[in-house]
């Protein structure tokens, strides 16, 4: 399968998952209130995340222009599928060397640029526009967080709830499995998995998922244990409700706040993990981690190429900071100790 087709498919799956979650949340006033409260407390962080999502969305769907007449020299570039973000930048900006932000000539060789001043953030060591790469990094970051979460959340819920609710032997087995996985140092396990699975977006996300689900599954298991003993579950039993229905109507809805909080916390740690993986040479192509990794050679140049790593770092930092702030707020808002009080 063409890589851009796969990427488009993943994107649509993510969008569908998000839409489903939002649709489900909208039906419940409790979640609607939580959402409103979040918007009230952290409007800036929410706007930042929305902006990233917009950029990522614009970059997610790529298409080719079959009827576009292209010159011989540009065929290779324009014949490839390009996203809306790609189309904002001239397809032919591949320069022979690199330039500083807003420069009108190349640093190495000093020739005039084809787009003088057009590279707002300069170009990297092989002449790629830094702004373009930085914007494209948003999609990669959201894919890392989103796709991995799509793997982690259902798996952890299924395993955690069944272990916690059924208990007994099922729990023994699940607990053993979890403690086995959890006992391996996560970064080493991650490295081992990627080395065996191979490098690539899906592989990295699968590896992150395998190392990441245990934490949530443990939380879910412990919380299910607690919920199972609560009076409202007893009340449902006394009213003749079947066990399966109890899980669906009572246990799962009361776990959702945990899932949302974990998702928010997980997201930033996943994106930061990918940066480390990139530096180890096994990250995802096009990520900010790759740009930072590339800075190792760029920083030793004279004059120093600082703009690449700076813009990647700023982009990374603002996303992570916004997500962390949202996670903090979400944790406060959904804390069961505050849910019980007046709304």
């Amino acid at each position: 399968m063409e890589s851009y087709v796969l990427s488009n498919l993943i994107t649509s799956a993510l969008v569908a998952g998000l839409a489903l979650a939002l649709w489900g949340a909208r039906r419940s006033p409790l979640w609607r209130n939580a959402g409103r409260e979040l918007a009230r407390r952290r409007p800036v962080a929410l706007a930042v995340v929305a902006a990233y999502a917009l950029v990522a969305g614009l970059d997610s769907v790529a298409w080719t222009d079959p009827h576009h007449e292209v010159a011989e020299s540009e065929a290779v570039l324009l014949g490839e599928p390009r996203s809306a973000i790609d189309r904002l930048f001239p397809a032919d900006f591949q320069e022979a060397s690199y330039s500083a932000p807003f420069a009108d000539h190349e640093l190495y060789g000093g020739e005039a640029l084809r787009h003088p001043g057009g590279h707002w953030l300069g170009t990297d060591i092989i002449g790629r526009d830094v702004l373009h790469r930085t914007l494209k990094g948003a999609r990669v970051a959201l894919i890392i967080g989103g796709l991995t979460s799509l793997i982690v959340l259902p798996l952890a819920l299924l395993v955690g709830v069944s272990a916690g609710y059924v208990g007994g032997r099922v729990d023994d087995v699940v607990f053993f499995l979890m403690s086995t996985l959890a006992s391996m140092p996560s970064l080493l396990l991650l490295i081992a998995l990627i080395m065996v699975l191979g490098v690539g977006t899906v592989q990295v996300c699968v590896a992150l998922g395998v190392t990441g689900w245990v934490g949530l599954a443990r939380l879910v298991r412990a919380e299910t244990f607690k919920i199972r003993e609560l009076e409202y579950v007893d009340a449902a039993r006394v009213l003749g409700t079947s066990e399966l229905r109890i899980v669906g109507r009572h246990v799962l809805p009361n776990l959702m706040h945990l899932v949302v909080i974990t998702f928010a916390l997980l997201f930033s740690s996943l994106v930061l993990s990918e940066v480390v993986l990139s530096w180890l040479g096994i990250g995802i192509e096009g990520s900010w981690g790759r740009m930072i990794d590339q800075a190792r050679t760029e920083l030793s140049r004279e004059p120093v190429i600082w703009w690449g790593i700076t813009s990647a770092s700023v982009a990374l930092f603002s996303l992570i900071l916004a997500v962390n702030q949202l996670a903090d707020a979400v944790r406060d808002i959904l804390d069961p100790r505050t849910v019980g009080e007046e709304s």
Partner: protein, 325 residues
């Protein structure tokens, strides 16, 4: 024990909780929460089960509802032993026995609206054919427990404690039970709200000929609601009888002590001397002989070795050698 038709008859009920320790969860002991309890609840009447925390009164109630697995004994409801039934066989009896829990905040799912909470039992037992029909029934039930119908679309945390307890009662009534186990149903409420709920329960009993098993530690409540009372201590019923007789002429030293300890509201009565001293022993290692002998003011040698049998006392029984004929 009584002349009326027994709706519920509990015989020799024993419910123990295994004490599991270590990562391998091996059973190393047992908490003998309920250790040989006999009870009778007559149709349309109220039996109060009274005792201090840890005496096993709640476990009796939970065992009757199938929430605990007793290890011995019989629970005869309408003549059928519930413990001998399998899951499917037990299902129809679920509908006939309901429960109102202690903490109305914990007994209602915080993420479920009042309408769904009250309708939960109806859905399970197929009462009402459509959603709208069930909503109508819910509305009439809420009206019966004196709640505004617009609470239907609210969540439990938006209600006060008393309102939540009314919802719990409406939920139990929804499946039209014959016996309702009230487990400390008014203990968590403020006095002024408690009176509202007690009156409501009394009205419902008259209207629907409900039988109550009223589990409580509050002697004032017992005296007010009960026809008969059973006093529990460390997993056993130590005294049982009509409420007036038990309060006026207690036949067990523990009952005596309990009555003496309860603060009275008579402004002319001065403070009384403390009768029962010391602490309740652990139910995982109850004392030999009479279980009350470690705290009993009348203890004698025989009490320490020989567990007393039950002796008939004026329409009830007592588990004390002093009552030996």
């Amino acid at each position: 024990m009584s002349a009326g038709p027994a709706l519920l008859r509990v015989e020799g009920l024993e419910t123990h909780f295994p004490v599991r320790t270590g990562p391998l969860h091996r059973v190393t002991g047992a908490v003998r929460a309920v250790d040989g309890v006999d009870l009778v609840v007559e149709a349309g009447k109220t039996l109060a089960l009274v005792g201090e925390s840890g005496c096993g009164k709640t476990t009796v109630g939970r065992s009757i509802l199938g929430l605990e697995r007793p290890r011995a004994g019989r629970i005869l409801f309408d003549g059928v032993d519930l413990l001998a039934l399998d899951r499917a066989g037990f299902a129809p009896y679920r509908k006939r026995i309901q429960m109102v829990f202690q903490d109305p905040a914990a007994a209602l799912d915080p993420r479920m609206r009042i309408r769904e909470a009250v309708a939960e039992g109806m859905v399970a037992f197929g009462i009402g054919t459509s959603r709208s029909e069930r909503t109508e029934i819910v509305a009439s039930l809420l009206a019966r427990v004196k709640l505004d119908p617009d609470v239907m679309s609210r969540y439990p945390h938006q209600l006060s404690g008393g309102q939540r307890q009314r919802v719990s009662i409406a939920r139990a009534l929804a499946v039209d039970p014959e016996l309702v186990v009230c487990d400390e149903s008014v203990s968590a409420l403020d006095v002024s709200i408690q009176a509202q709920i007690l009156n409501l329960l009394a009205d419902l009993q008259r209207e629907r000929r409900l039988a109550y098993l009223f589990i409580t530690h509050d002697l004032g409540v017992v005296r007010h609601v009960a026809d008969r009372v059973a006093v529990m201590y460390l997993g056993q019923v130590v005294e049982e009888g009509p409420v007036a007789r038990v309060f006026d002429a207690p036949a067990h030293p523990y009952t005596e002590g309990l009555l003496a300890a309860a603060p009275s509201l008579d402004p002319d009565r001065g403070p009384r001397p403390v009768v029962v001293r010391g602490d309740v022993p652990s139910p995982s290692n109850p004392p030999p002989g009479c279980r009350f002998h470690t705290r009993c003011p009348h203890v004698f040698a025989r009490c320490r070795v020989e567990p007393p049998p039950t002796f008939d006392v004026d329409g009830g029984m007592s588990r004390c050698f002093l009552r030996e004929p």
